[in-house]
Every structure is written in C-alpha cells, then in structure tokens.
Symmetry: C2
Amino acid sequence: MSKVKGSRAERELFHMLWNEGHAVVRSAGSGSTTKPAPDLLTSNGFKTMAIECKSIKGKKKYFDHTEILQLNLFANTFGAEAWLGLRFDNVGWFFIESKHIVKSKGESLLLTLDYMRKKGLTFDELIGKYEQKKLNL
Amino acid sequence: MSKVKGSRAERELFHMLWNEGHAVVRSAGSGSTTKPAPDLLTSNGFKTMAIECKSIKGKKKYFDHTEILQLNLFANTFGAEAWLGLRFDNVGWFFIESKHIVKSKGESLLLTLDYMRKKGLTFDELIGKYEQKKLNL
C-alpha cells in the first residue's frame, strides 16, 4: 500500500466518523517517535477506539504482529478498544477488533476479504447504527 | 510563538506524559482539516485530556476565544477534559482546565505567569502525583 493511498483512506474514515458524531484525531506520531500511535483515535464519549487503517487493492492483506501488538499496547494504556479498519478497493470498509483476531505462529497475519465479510463489522455496525449481530464471534 | 518552538513544547509534554504511563497522540489535524483538533490527546484509562499547548517567551499569552471554543467542542464530543498547557521559558509548565478560565468580553483572553502560578496546576499536580489542592478554584 502506498503512503498516499493509506493516508487517503485514513482521511475518509476520519470524516465518516465526524459525520456520525464521533470526535477523531489523526495521529502525527507514527514517523517521529518510537511510541505506539494508532492512525486514528476516536470517541463519542461512550465508545473509544484506536484504529489502524489499511487500504487494500486486492482481496487480502498481511499484517505484522508487531503492528498489532503496538496497537494493543496503545489501546490498553489509553483505555480504548483496538480495531483494524480495512478498506478494500471497490468494496468498502470492514472492521475487526484486534482481540478477535486469531493468533498465528508466523511473523505476519493474513486478513482476507472473505474473512472480513464473515467476521468483520461494516461501518454502520461499528458505530452501532444497526444491531451488532456479529460482535460476539 | 514560532511553529517550531510550539512543536518542541508539544513534543516535550508528549514524552513527559508517556513517562508517567499516560498514552498520548499528537494530532496531525490542525492544518489539514476544519475539524477541531487538540495538540495532544492523552489518557491513562481514567483521566482523559485534550490539551492545547503554548510555548511562551515572556510572562503572558493571549488566546483567541475561538481556539478555546474549538478545544471545548472537541473535548465535549470525545468525552475528554479540555486543558491548556502553558510552557513559560525558564520556568516550566502550568496547566488550567478551560472551564476554569474566566470569560472576558473581548476577542482574546489573557493568561499571565502570575495567574497560572496561583490558579494553574503543575505537571505533577495535573497527573495526580501530588494532592491536587488547586483543582477546586
């Protein structure tokens, strides 16, 4: 994923969240510090989420375990839920909470569009617009 | 205040907070969006603060009311406390919660070193290291 495209997806989600009444900051930290920093940090006063965003051209994406551990570290310290937001080209956004990701032995983790359709949440489900049927996996 | 100096103060506070176990993000938003964005957003899971930082050469600083209204708007939506952090050269940091700032009729608000020494909190008081004697003004 190019940096520009990732940043564009991040901005899109930023505005989607604001439009639904969730305050959001985009983090400036990822490059300039060794401290963990999620791409977006958002809350409406009830649900607080640290979100790592990815823009995906095909139908699958590998994640480094380190990236997810860093996200968890930040979220646990802040008191936020840790989420991955995947934007598939020509399909849209799916979200999964990091604690629902099945650990694997390797160094990276594979998330596919099929898997996200089955186990992930849509944006409306994420923000609780519709009943979150899929929250308890 | 120069942008560079403001940014340096912001980074200093960023590290001070992490060192005390508070997760912090620096916001990337201030320039690229019309949405309100505090300089820093921090929490240890109990106390969540949106902080606007200023680096001050002399003994006083004017704030735009708009800036404080934007800070309040963000903090209220996110569910955070709204704080101003003032770093006076050769003196150090003082903090005041925006709700404790006395409103004035003009377009800007004056905060002086004397006032902050009397009414503000030190960093240790802010993070609850010492009894927060001055919290109830």
